[in-house]
């Protein structure tokens, strides 16, 4: 396993209160694998990413758990070691590509610098490769784009540059937080294809955080479904999307207009997402669940095989056998 997160809990403390953003989260990512982390706002998917990157804000603290990357626990690393790991082995792509680009440096120079540092070649050669890498991410007229500044490019172009950046110095693990959410569908399609290539050709593992199940279906091998800071279901994409087991996953799929018939109401989840300051004793989803049992409100379920004997498909639900 390249990355193994075990029992990770994260709390945020503010002047007024304490918010438990993550509660005993466990999952792993294998070499060359694309794993989708799916959830709605407040599900803790971005907090998970920031924990791995060591970029949590000062008021957050990890109360339990471990994050092991290539066998070593990231949480015991010094700040400096973590930072160098972030530059070299763990890459990141965010929803807003501007955060990953130097605002006052030309695109070509940014890419060339990374390539120059990564491979032992001359800067001139690195620049040539930088232009080539722009062409590789379907940018027309790469020479021209290489001479531009980030602010001169559209959002889709910028995101492609960020991907090119990630590809020219391929990280072992790429953490992508809603990389295509701000993009048009046609560009999203291309960016996703590029990420798939990155995983297949260079063996990069990708943790793809998204709210879009369609995106997951297109590129991910495995899915982790999160709700209110917990993993509620995990399995191969096929298992989770075709035979979802957790009522939340079912509701999430049923809520999509993609599969609904015109005129038929969409499956809606009643109520609001829970108050993370006061987690219920039982299942976090129980207050909104349409098939909750008495035990759901009293005892917290744990991840267990969805079907007996299944190694991949796991679900945290008391009603899984019903």
């Amino acid at each position: 396993m390249l990355l193994e997160i075990h029992n990770l809990s994260v709390e945020f403390e503010s002047m007024q209160d304490r918010v438990k953003a993550l509660q005993a989260v466990s999952f792993s990512i294998d070499e060359g694998e694309i794993v989708g982390i799916v959830g709605e706002s407040g599900s803790g998917k971005s907090v998970t990413a920031l924990s791995i990157l060591g970029l949590l804000e000062k008021n957050a603290h990890i109360s339990t758990g471990s994050i092991s990357y290539k066998g070593k626990n990231l949480l015991s690393l010094s700040k400096k070691d973590w930072q160098s790991l972030r530059g070299k082995e763990i890459g990141m792509v965010f929803q807003e590509p501007m955060t990953a680009l130097h605002p006052t440096m030309r695109i070509g120079d940014q890419l060339a610098e990374v390539i120059h540092r990564h491979r032992s070649i001359s800067y001139k050669e690195a620049y040539r490769q930088a232009v080539a890498s722009l062409a590789e991410v379907q940018i027309n007229d790469p020479e021209l784009v290489a001479r531009k500044y980030p602010f001169e490019l559209s959002g889709g172009m910028r995101q492609r540059v960020v991907i090119a950046l990630a590809m020219s110095a391929p990280p072992d693990l790429l953490i992508a937080d809603e990389p295509t959410t701000a993009l048009d569908v046609t560009i999203q399609h291309e960016v996703l294809k590029l990420m798939q290539e990155l995983a297949q050709k260079r063996g990069t593992s990708i943790m793809l955080i998204t709210h879009d199940l369609g995106v997951v279906a297109q590129v991910c091998q495995r899915v982790v479904v999160m709700y209110a800071g917990e993993v509620v279901e995990t399995g191969t994409t096929q298992e989770v999307l075709h035979s979802p087991c957790h009522p939340y996953t079912k509701a999430l799929i049923g809520a999509l207009p993609d599969l609904a018939e015109q005129g038929q109401p969409l499956l809606a989840i009643p109520g609001e997402s829970p108050d993370l300051r006061n987690r219920p004793d039982g299942c976090v989803f129980a207050p909104r669940c349409s098939c909750s049992l008495p035990i759901c409100r009293e005892d917290h379920p744990v991840l267990e095989p969805a079907v007996s004997g299944s190694l991949t498909h796991q679900v945290s639900c008391w009603g899984r056998n019903q």
Partner: protein
């Protein structure tokens, strides 16, 4: 849903912390703002209770006791016609505070309205108004105030008007900048699609949302306005004797500085403390409300 609300009690630490008002929390952490607040409160209380604190009248002439030294009877001494200086400072505080607040609030209200109208409509009206404001701003503030006050005739009302005129452009610019940003907000666009008349949109949406920077500016400007009123008074263009106005007191008193040091010194000190107090509070409020200053 009820399950989540039921358990609000489970975190006692969180609840007790919640009672801290963040505004006061921040003010308390800033000793200079606290000092400013203390000064202002002191001056305010002294001026309100002036008749109770002092047995003297501010304008009653008492020639036998002229130029009395500071003593138990006359804490800050007396002036050239025997009036108690402490008493005159207390009544002067009423005047200074009142005039300072009135002038700045007046300028703020007028400036905000002009700025909001100018920014909302844009085009030629905007051009015209902003050029006019540029002209006012092009003059040194004090020189322009003196010129206006001198032209209109030296008295307190005209001095106030002069100071208000030189303060208005600041508020016009502030409100206009806010308005330009607000005009693009969806709730303003929504109001346009409802068919609500422009003046109503300005009153309902633009002005209330543009107000916070204006309020900060007002607190910053009051100290300045008090100083300007005193300056005009000192130059003989403001309040006229025997009105107990700090600037006018200093103006007469400084001639006696060498022989009767207390005469100009105490009004000067009062002026210094009052404008200091307002500036400290203004800075404090700006630090609290300005998100950029917050981050550091």
């Amino acid at each position: 849903m009820s399950g989540t609300t039921l358990k609000t009690e489970s975190l006692p630490a969180a609840r007790s912390a919640k009672t801290v008002n963040p505004f006061w929390y921040k003010i308390r952490r800033n000793p200079l703002t606290l000092l400013g607040l203390f000064l202002l409160l002191l001056i305010l209380l002294l001026s309100i209770f002036a008749p109770l604190i002092s047995p003297y009248e501010p304008t009653k002439i008492n020639i036998p006791e002229r130029f009395a030294q500071p003593s138990a009877d006359h804490w800050f001494g007396t002036d050239e016609v025997g009036r108690d200086i402490f008493t005159r400072i207390l009544y002067g505080a009423r005047l200074s505070l009142g005039v300072g607040v009135a002038v700045v609030v007046g300028a703020g209200v007028i400036g905000t309205i002009i700025g909001a109208v100018s920014g909302y409509f844009g085009g030629r009206i905007d051009q015209l108004i902003m050029r006019l404001m540029d002209i006012i701003l092009a003059f040194p503030a004090l020189v322009l105030a003196m010129a206006i006050a001198a032209t209109l005739g030296p008295n307190l009302q005209n001095a106030m008007l002069a100071i208000a005129i030189i303060k208005i452009p600041v508020y016009v610019r502030l409100a206009r900048a806010e308005t330009l940003a607000l005009r693009e907000k969806l709730f303003v666009k929504a109001a346009v699609t409802f068919g609500i008349p422009s003046w109503r949109i300005i009153v309902r949406h633009i002005i209330p949302n543009a107000l916070s920077p204006v309020i900060i500016q007002v607190t910053l400007d009051i100290g300045d306005a008090i100083l300007l009123v005193a300056t005009l008074g000192f130059l003989g263009l403001g309040a006229q004797p025997p009105t107990p106005e700090w600037g006018a007191m200093i103006s007469i008193g400084w001639k006696y500085l060498l022989d009767y040091w207390w005469y100009p010194t105490f009004p000067g000190l009062a002026l210094f403390l009052a404008s200091c107090g307002f500036n400290l509070i203004g800075d404090g409020i700006r630090d609290i409300l300005d998100p950029k200053a917050n981050r550091s």
